[in-house]
Amino acid sequence: MFQSIYLRKYCPVCILIIILILLPLFSSEYVKVVAMQIFIFGVFAISYDILLGYTGIASFGHAIFFGTGAYVTALLMLKSGFSFWATLPFVVIGCAVIGLLIGLLTLRFATIYFTIVTLALGQFCYFLLTNALTYQYTGGDDGLHGLPMILQTKNQMYYLAFAFLLVIFFLAKKIVSSPLGTTLVAIRENEFRAKMIGYNVLNYRLIALVISGIMAGLAGSMNAAILRSVFPGFMGAGTTIDVILMTILGGMGSLLGPVIGAALVIICQQYLSSYFEWWLMIFGIIFVLVVLFLPQGLISIFYRFRVKKILSRYEIKD
């Protein structure tokens, strides 16, 4: 009986994975590109969820990490001739350092400071990228283009991005059920009590920010590799807003939610925007309704439904 619950729990996920593995065989190039974007923003949204959903602090400048990752990779590949894989350690280190700096500057105080300061920092970084002083390095508004291909075919890139999502999802799953992850949730629930059983709250928040930053940075460099170009928009407010939408709509505090949110937002952006001029307004209304009535996101409907179904099934058997 236990095994059957287990199977039932993972059955839909397995089917989905198989569909996604087979997808490139019968889909157009465009669908593949959209799918890759979903995988990458899925990772980005997972990283954001670790911060917002599990640690309970809202960053409005999360694109800083995404942009940093993308630009570090692009610059090292273009200017220093590094291979893509060789740039990743630099991305990790860079994002970790930025996360530590931001955290030390703001996390000591009320978390609303963190929100506002990260928003300002995000814009600051965006201006830095597009400033005349840095034009020769960053390409200003145009961004950087012509990154070398890292794999031969589109299909290979697709599988790489998909594997990337699976690996990060698996790692994130590990992290949130680890001692550190449970502590983060405890701090979110009751910061004072966490302090009083001996946790250094600041350290934990810093670690969460760094982990989240590194994941977002890796998503950024992967995005750079796939698009073979980087744009200052990667670091702009728009990117942050996208990731907030994905996480809230999908459901914060559950790792699967943000991925679903990412799929939803990107599909809407790609398809809906050509039909409705005012689709963003509908998005806004849905967003407000979700915050008011479904604070755990769209995925909570699914969970409720499934719990009921499983329960009713066993009630009948008993």
Binding site: Y113, I116, V117, A120, Q123, G284, V288
Partner: protein
Amino acid sequence: MTSQLFVNILLSALSLGVIYFLLSSGFALVFSLLRVSNFSHGSLIMWGAYLGVYLVKALSNFTLGLVVSAVVIGIILALVEFFLFRRLYGGNPLFELLLTFGLIYILDEAVKLIWGAAMITVDKPLFLQGTVMIYGEPFAILRLYIFGLGAFICAALYFLLNKTKLGLIITAGIENKEMVRALGININKVFTFVCWLGGFLAGIAGFVLAFFTGLSPEMGTNQLLNVLVIVVVGGLGSFMGAAIAAIIMGLAEAFLGFYLPELAILSSFIVMFIVLGIKPSGLLGEE
């Protein structure tokens, strides 16, 4: 630098500071009583600009158009408080913040639907055109007008918050809502009023802003960042702090713009990092 030039820069710095004050005052007011960081404040500013310009034209009366549009913007925020914020009080403040964030989309898209996404330039009314000579340098009458408006609103708010019973209730309500209710005061009504006032101030600020930036659907969100930085620098919850921070921002932007034009756009960040580095709770914020 000649003293003439200095005075000129100083005056434009101050008028910039006054605009910043107008832009951030509504946010600071709502935050200090309701503890809601109203991220849709920028969008309300934009609505104030569009609606104000439209009404001035439609009513062909400058003051009436300005006041009516500000009142309407106030009503929008009051309705939002009444129907939406009220469900979230006492919970995680994150959700109020996210809610106002969602409102940005609705407000911004509504403007695009009604007035279109294209940029619209705004002509100054006749009586605000032209310049006067101050200290031998020309100075725009519009800026003088803004000085007057800023001084009037600052004085009116000071009077309201410090000299009226409503001000007492607001000050007391920030500290202890339960006791205020136990004195027989319906604090919910006060909340709604404060939101109305916050929206009203956003409406006026937006209208003034329209003369400088013209009308565009991005104008509000562009200003949101300035507003947030000013409020953080002033100290969250401190109304006077926001006023001082606004003036400092104006000064920094104007003088930095003169000496190092490339960095002018970063001036507010520079001020923010300096202030938060020295006093993390902001200029007048409590620890």
